[in-house]
């Protein structure tokens, strides 16, 4: 344990970063699958499915992410599931992401003109091909900026895994800050690393949004 912020400390932060990226990736992929299910259920004809998923979204959007992580982290253990810490945390983030992505994609599906569905039906297309070939591709395009925006939120959100003792970037920063006694420098670097990760995504998101806004303005 060196006393200054050197190569070893930086490597340690990068080790934390790899966990941050991995957690965000798992949650985004898992949340993408879950969110698709939620979005389809929210726009289905079944009242029960719509009610249940509406409630699911309400809970996850109406409570702090930190609490969701705590409840899932401890709750899974109580259910007798002995999962490794990273998996328990990843499940928490996945449930969170499913709710938010589901809501974003529901909005996009509903934003499409009703005529699209009616035309597809008139062509004799059943639910699956209708969704797969007509509705979803268009909805995803509309939802792309918001989806990218949520990915940024998710990456930042993984910092909360630090509070359950999981060593990702934010927590690695705290540990290094404690060994080097240079909080200003260390938290500055940690902030910069997050920024370097998130900013390109944010830029990409607003660029496609602007392009879409121009396209509709014409």
């Amino acid at each position: 344990m060196g006393n200054s912020f050197g190569f070893g400390e930086f490597t340690f932060l990068m080790h934390g970063l790899s966990w941050t990226v991995l957690l965000a990736a798992i949650a985004f992929v898992g949340g993408g699958i879950g969110g698709l299910g939620v979005a389809l259920a929210r726009t289905s004809t079944s009242l029960v499915a719509r009610r249940i998923t509406a409630g699911y979204i309400a809970v996850f959007q109406g409570t702090p992410l930190l609490m969701q992580l705590f409840v899932v982290y401890y709750g899974l253990g109580l259910l007798g599931l002995n999962l490794p810490a990273w998996l328990a945390v990843a499940i928490g983030f996945t449930l969170h992401a499913s709710a938010f992505l589901g809501e974003i994609w529901r909005g996009a599906i509903e934003a499409l003109p009703k005529g699209q569905t009616e035309a597809a039906k008139a062509l004799g297309m059943h639910y699956l091909p209708r969704m797969r070939d007509v509705i979803l591709p268009q909805a995803f395009r509309i939802a792309l900026p918001a989806t990218v925006g949520f990915l940024v939120q998710l990456i930042k959100g993984t910092s909360l895994a630090a509070i359950v003792g999981f060593i990702e970037l934010a927590r690695a920063g705290q540990i290094v800050s404690n060994q080097t006694f240079a909080p200003l420098l260390v938290f500055g670097v940690v902030g910069l690393v997050y920024f370097a990760l998130c900013w390109p995504l944010s830029l990409y998101g607003s660029r496609i949004e602007n392009r879409m806004a121009r396209a509709t303005a014409r």
Binding site: G55, A58, G149, I163, I175, V176, F181
Partner: protein
């Protein structure tokens, strides 16, 4: 505004869900009852020993800059793994969530600098003590604290639910400002940055603090000598007996003393045979 998934569920669905969620604990109680009690055989069949440990509290348990778990607790846990013939997997836990991590089955055993206290003994099963630790109050030399009553004039930082938290909360007069942080790292950080004026500490805090700001900090008050034990879940009779036998063995063959010397720099003290209100074995 693209990056703000805006919050807009209907209020009615929010309310209905709140009510539905209230019913969930009943379901949970049932299923957690069904889960089987864990025995030594379960751990062996799993093929590894999962140990809850501190990640930021040198020399007890900490991660080095390569991200590898080290420290006194880590070495003792590795000896246990060797004894059982199992590889050890470390799960770093914050001070505040180590007991929850054990109780909810995240880890098999805690070697997490856990002071043995009667209230904790109600939540988990302690083993025989395997380390000693002095709980003290540390502050800059210039700070005037001579008695417990003097704490009232200062802002005291502690790691939430640590032994220091217990000791300071008990000793400090009514109305003392105590700020509780998530772990040792944050507490030490708060002292160094002047956010608190004194900290509830273990015997190694002064060393770490003075490394950052040389010749500044000293022990002000001695609260208690605590003994650390390994923690298992209540009622795990066989598992607790296995760990006690292991601790007896490393005390007898000198391995514990060797590890002690490595990390603490001095020989282990005499360990007590009993502690008031804390059974070492499943009764």
């Amino acid at each position: 505004m693209t990056d703000t998934p805006v919050f807009r569920p209907s209020r009615r669905s929010l309310l209905a869900t709140g009510l539905a969620v209230l019913a969930a604990p009943a379901v949970l109680t049932m299923s957690s009852r069904m889960a089987a009690a864990q025995s030594l055989a379960d751990i062996k069949s799993k093929g590894k020993l999962v140990v809850g440990i501190q990640g930021d509290n040198p020399p007890w348990g900490f991660l080095n800059s390569q991200g590898v778990q080290e420290g006194y607790d880590a070495d003792i846990a590795k000896l246990l793994g060797k004894e059982l013939g199992l590889p050890v997997e470390f799960v770093p836990t914050a001070v505040a969530n180590r007991i929850p991590a054990l109780v909810t089955g995240r880890v098999d055993v805690l070697f997490a600098t856990m002071g043995m206290y009667p209230d904790r003994a109600k939540a988990i099963q302690f083993s025989k003590p395997y380390a000693a630790n002095d709980i003290v109050l540390v502050a800059p030399k210039s700070t005037v604290i001579k008695t417990n009553a003097d704490m009232k004039n200062f802002i005291i930082g502690v790691a939430r639910s640590s032994a220091q938290d217990t000791a300071v909360t008990k000793a400090a007069p009514e109305g003392t400002t105590i700020r509780r942080f998530d772990d040792d790292a944050a507490t030490i950080q708060a002292m160094l940055s002047g956010q608190v004026q004194a900290v509830g500490a273990n015997q190694f805090y002064p060393l770490r603090l003075n490394k950052a700001q040389p010749d500044t900090y000293e022990r002000k008050l001695d609260f208690v000598r605590q003994y650390n034990g390994a923690g298992t879940r209540l009622g795990q009779k066989e598992w607790n007996a296995t760990i006690n036998a292991f601790i007896d063995k490393i005390k007898a063959n000198g391995e514990l003393a060797k590890v002690y010397q490595t990390w603490m720099g001095f020989a282990p003290p005499e360990f007590p045979e009993t502690l008031e209100g804390i059974p070492f074995t499943v009764g």
